[in-house]
Amino acid sequence: MSRGEQPAAAGSGAEVHQMPGRAGAMQDSTGRNPGTELELDWLEEVRVNRSAVERRTATLAPRRAVKKDAQAAWLLKAVTCIDLTTLAGDDTAGRVQRLCAKARRPVRSDLLEALGVADLGIHVGAVCVYPMMVAAAVEALDGSGIPVASVAAGFPAGQTPLAQRIAEVEAAVAAGAREIDIVITRGHVLTANWQALYDEVRAFRQACGAAHLKSILGTGDLATLRNVAKASLVAMMAGTDVVKTSTGKEGVNATLPVSLVMVRTIRRYRELTGQKIGFKPAGGISAAKDALAYLSLMKEELGRDWLEPALFRFGASSLLGDIERQLEHHVTGRYSAAFRHPAA
């Protein structure tokens, strides 16, 4: 798959439940999240008990074992939710083209046939690159229906003047990106400057135009689960379409407790506004069984709708490889090896 240490995730995902218009982009036919005013009252009522959250996540996967054919299906679903990613200093057009080829055909066709799903058109959810690589990715994915996502806004630290960050978003959109993964200014959360956070995300949302906005909270930098919940809520009020945990560059990336808090905030926002917000855990999800745990989390806490790429994505580099091996094991009964599967 990916070279070196950078995230290069797999994905392919035109999926069955497609929305009209912008095929593949996140969110469903009910439209985008328009956001709300900054409702500070909503933040006031945020309560997160870390120990209880951890207890829930520790028992969630053991409560929901998925086995045999169901497991194969769930792993295929996970594939369709992957944002296949490369975010490295040495990315080149050639590297991105190879990634895009994997995005179109993430699982060996003989395995898909054996599983009886060859006709489902399984591909990853999106290909995620730096702004400079967007054009190459758009070209490589032409006709596939797979959207190109671009990180932007001073990824990964966000320590760039706002004007430049907004310009970066606009440039990525102009280059053909249909999804923009921005990073928030973590300092706004740590100083509880909710207005600044709101204004910033609003500005990115504006700059995105028709492209979908994913807000990376950098949860590893936010220190507490309460901060995670509040930052999620502010991003949603500011009009983000998706909340995403991490850049993959923080010390701690996606974890189940952080994800549970974000997912419950999505539920709360829906209660308050009726809007469905997507979720993208990113970084550190490398095993097929981790993917199953995240899917269980989505199903249990938010429901079936959040098991589709319109509302759920994995930002993960090595996950696809493990899923491929597990799928082959399911088909053959033998443990598989990485070299048997095409590299990204």
């Binding site: 069955v16 951890e54 295929l76 899917l295």
Partner: protein, 795 residues
């Protein structure tokens, strides 16, 4: 369903745990089991057996032996014979044995988990992730207590042979809770598993054989209630430990009254689950799942009464219903199941009938839209709203997956509702405010309080209840004491026959000049009260002269005294420093009247001057001892293996009734009073019937010592008659009796009403002058109960 169909539906699909190894084990035993006595498998003498049934499908798993009287005799004899050797093995030797058992449980963890799930119907996820790991932990922890026994429990010795009767809801875990401390302390054991769930105990017996546990140390005798009855009534058993229903517990209390058997009871509950408006509501919802839908709600400490602050009640109920819709009921061996099978059709019928009663009384029942499996004993998670404390389903323990929800307005109201129950096992408090949580926890009458959590257990943290939830603790240091006794209690002389003889006929009052009449009254609520009876009883001197008269206390005097004690509830939360100061002050005032009390003792008992003076000195010293103890009998902070502190608080028992013997009339009185008031209890004391004047003089000392009214109440009269009234009074929490054996038996028997904690001397006379016998930690432990408050933390 095909992969493509699963891909579309994203359903879970079956995730079965293989039953094969457990089935093979059953087959290897021809699905027929004997009794485990003296490390051998012994057929029941009359060859009676009964079926153990898989509640998930109604099929027979195996035939289990029904132990009869001969079998129980044999098992008791085996345990008795093994006990001296087991003691001689020493703490370290027993630690090795328990360590081996812990390892054996871990090595066979999955087999035990699968077998438990088959036999009981609980989900494999729970047996695998909760029950069996806790079993191993319990044996490890108690291997440690065995190792430390000599150092940490000097002056204590094992009780002897323990008869243990356990329930079906956590079959192997309850075995561990009973067996591990008993064996660690040097007792030998006769254990009867519940009739529905004997199999893991039998497998455990095999593991004991393999681990080389000496013969007779642990005997497993299967059977039904009749077998249990044989154990309870067996004369050569020293200790009965029971976990089960309050009804059976009450029966056991009555049956063992006066037998001298030590007794611990772990009974029912109707535990409150309190959610404040500043709680993490989503987490509280998961807490409810773990509280009432854990083990199908068949948990004595299940959070079965949901108390919601009004402002968030509607949101919580909505969230709960949504969550319930997602719960999965089904095959216990499916790894993705939340709720398994109810243990037996009879229990299912009980749940159904109580739910029907709830509906009939007008409560609103909500159940998920899906239905349970047709085959087997299953019941859906159920939520009642529109109930009040007066509803049957709010008061009765349902022991099933049925939750009742009520609202409250203020923390005080939450406390009032939480405590409005005969039970007092556990409670759960959800709030993000540490102030509120730590204010609530001591106010709730329950042995365990979980803050922002529920159903957490650990061997280091004692577990057990207040009120009709039983007495004694399991786990922790406090639980270990339940299998030990102070060594000095072993060879005490009995009370002689003369104690039972009526007092001699009074003669005339002997005095040179007519005395000013002093009328000794009862002392109730801080003032002197004439006895309701209007009768007096004569107090006769050792030489037969009439010394004076005291009131002939009756039922109503006791009622008034208890009422006064109830009102003095502030004493329970008085600062320990204040309690200490008052005890010293009492001592000071007693010392000021030392000669008067000396003379009184001489006159009443005929004691020599030096002996009487010695008694007064000893009483003053004893007051000093408890003044010293008042701020030193500290609780503990446990560190269970999660991120948590568990505060083991020593709380006063409440209202203590104390019945004093005739000897050492002042010292015995002080010896019983002082530890209780030092620990924050309020006391109703009946002084020596024959020599009560030391007590009636003593209330003048109390009056001058700043002791709040109602903390100590003194009622004179017939000891055993008044003891019965106290024993039958539901507001009295504990009863201490020192006197002839018949009184001990009566007190134990009469206490079954509210299952108050009794502490009796079984007719054995102690030496009040010996500080080892007359004061110290043993008294303090009886004056307190341990409340374990779990506080998981982390931001």
């Amino acid at each position: 369903m095909s992969v493509a169909e699963f891909f579309s539906s994203m359903d879970y699909g079956p995730a079965p745990e293989a039953a094969r190894p457990a089935v093979d084990w059953l087959d290897a035993h021809d699905r027929r089991f004997d009794l485990f006595i003296g490390n051998e498998w012994v057929a029941p003498k009359d060859q009676r057996r009964f079926d153990s049934i898989n509640p998930a499908n109604g099929r027979v798993l195996a035939a289990v032996a029904q132990a009869g009287a001969t079998d129980i005799d044999a098992a008791v004899a085996a345990a008795r014979a093994a006990q001296p050797g087991w003691v001689v093995l020493g703490g370290h030797g027993r630690a090795r044995a328990l360590y081996a058992l812990a390892r054996a449980v871990q090595k066979h963890a999955r087999l035990l988990a699968v077998l438990e799930s088959l036999d009981n119907g609980k989900p494999i996820r729970e047996t695998r992730d909760i029950d069996i790991p806790l079993v191993a932990r319990h044996f490890y922890h108690h291997a440690g207590w065995a190792q430390l026994l000599d150092a940490e429990f000097a002056g204590y010795e094992p009780l002897g042979v323990a008869g243990q009767i356990i329930p079906w809801n956590f079959p192997l875990l309850m075995l561990a809770w009973k067996v591990a401390p008993a064996l660690a302390a040097g007792n030998t054991v006769l254990l009867k598993p519940a009739e529905f769930t004997s199999l893991t105990a039998l497998l455990f017996a095999e593991l004991c054989q393999q681990a080389g546990l000496p013969p007779g140390v642990l005997n497993i005798v299967t059977g039904d209630g009749a077998t249990g009855e044989l154990i309870v009534n067996h004369p050569d058993i020293d200790k009965i430990a029971f976990t089960g229903s309050t009804e059976v517990g009450r029966h056991i209390r009555a049956a063992t009254a006066g037998s001298g058997k030590a007794l611990t009871l772990e009974l029912g509950g109707k535990s409150p689950f309190i959610v404040f408006d500043d709680a993490d509501l989503d987490s509280a919802v998961e807490g409810v799942v773990d509280a009432i839908w854990f083990n199908q709600g068949q948990v004595c400490c299940a959070g079965s009464r949901l108390l919601l602050q009004e402002s968030i009640a509607e949101r919580m109920v909505d969230k709960l219903r949504a969550r319930m819709e997602n719960l999965r009921v089904g095959d216990p061996l499916d790894k993705a199941i939340d709720i398994g099978a109810i243990v037996a059709p009879v229990q299912l019928a009980r749940i159904e009938s109580l739910v029907a009663k709830g509906v009939a009384e007008g409560a609103t029942l909500w159940q998920p839209s899906w239905s349970c499996p047709e085959e087997g004993s299953f019941y859906p998670p159920s939520l009642f709203t529109g109930v009040a404390p007066a509803s049957t389903i709010v008061q009765e323990e349902i022991f099933g997956p049925v939750l009742v929800a009520m609202t409250f307005r203020t923390p005080d109201e939450a406390v009032a509702l939480a405590n409005n129950t005969r039970y007092g096992l556990a409670a759960s408090v959800w709030t993000e405010s540490i102030n509120l949580a730590l204010d609530m926890a001591p106010k709730i009458k329950a042995g365990v309080v979980w803050v922002n959590s529920t159903n957490l257990f650990d061997a280091a943290c004692g577990f057990g209840g207040y009120r009709e939830s039983g007495y004694g603790r399991e786990g922790g240091r406090e639980g270990f004491y339940a299998y030990l006794r102070p060594s000095w209690t072993k060879n005490l002389p009995p009370y002689g026959a003369d104690e039972d003889r009526p007092a001699p006929e009074p003669g005339t009052v002997a005095a040179d000049l007519p005395l000013i009449d002093r009328t000794a009254k009862n002392y109730i609520g801080g003032s002197q009260k004439r006895s309701d009876s209007g009768y007096s009883r004569a107090v006769v001197a050792a030489d037969g002269r009439l010394l004076g008269e005291v009131g002939e206390g009756n039922r109503k005097d006791i009622r008034d005294a208890v009422e006064a004690a109830r009102k003095a509830v502030g004493w329970a939360s008085a600062a320990t420093h204040l309690r200490a100061q008052i005890l010293y002050y009492i001592a000071e005032n007693l010392a000021a009247r030392q000669r008067e009390f000396r003379d009184r003792i001489m006159a009443m008992t005929g004691a020599k001057r030096r002996a009487a003076a010695k008694e007064v000195d000893a009483a003053i010293a004893r007051l000093f001892s408890y003044g010293a103890w008042a701020d030193k009998f500290d609780g503990a902070v446990h560190a269970p293996p999660i991120r948590d502190v568990t505060l083991a608080m020593h709380e006063p028992v409440g209202i203590v009734g104390a019945l004093c013997p005739d000897e050492a009339p002042l010292l015995a009185l002080i010896s019983l009073l002082a530890p209780a008031i030092a620990m924050g209890d309020r006391v109703v004391v009946v002084p020596s019937p024959r020599h009560p004047l030391a007590a009636t003089d003593f209330y003048q000392v109390l009056d001058t010592s700043d002791l709040p009214g109602g903390v100590v109440n003194i009622v004179t009269g017939d000891r055993d008659g008044l003891a019965r009234v106290l024993a039958e009074h539901d507001e009295v929490d504990a009863l201490w009796y020192v006197g002839p054996a018949a009184g001990s038996a009566m007190v134990e028997g009469a206490s079954v009403g509210n299952l108050k904690q009794t502490w009796v001397n079984n007719g054995k006379r102690r030496d009040w002058f010996d500080p080892r016998q007359g004061e110290g930690r043993d008294y303090l432990r009886h004056a307190t109960q341990v409340k374990n408050i779990w506080v998981p933390y982390g931001e």
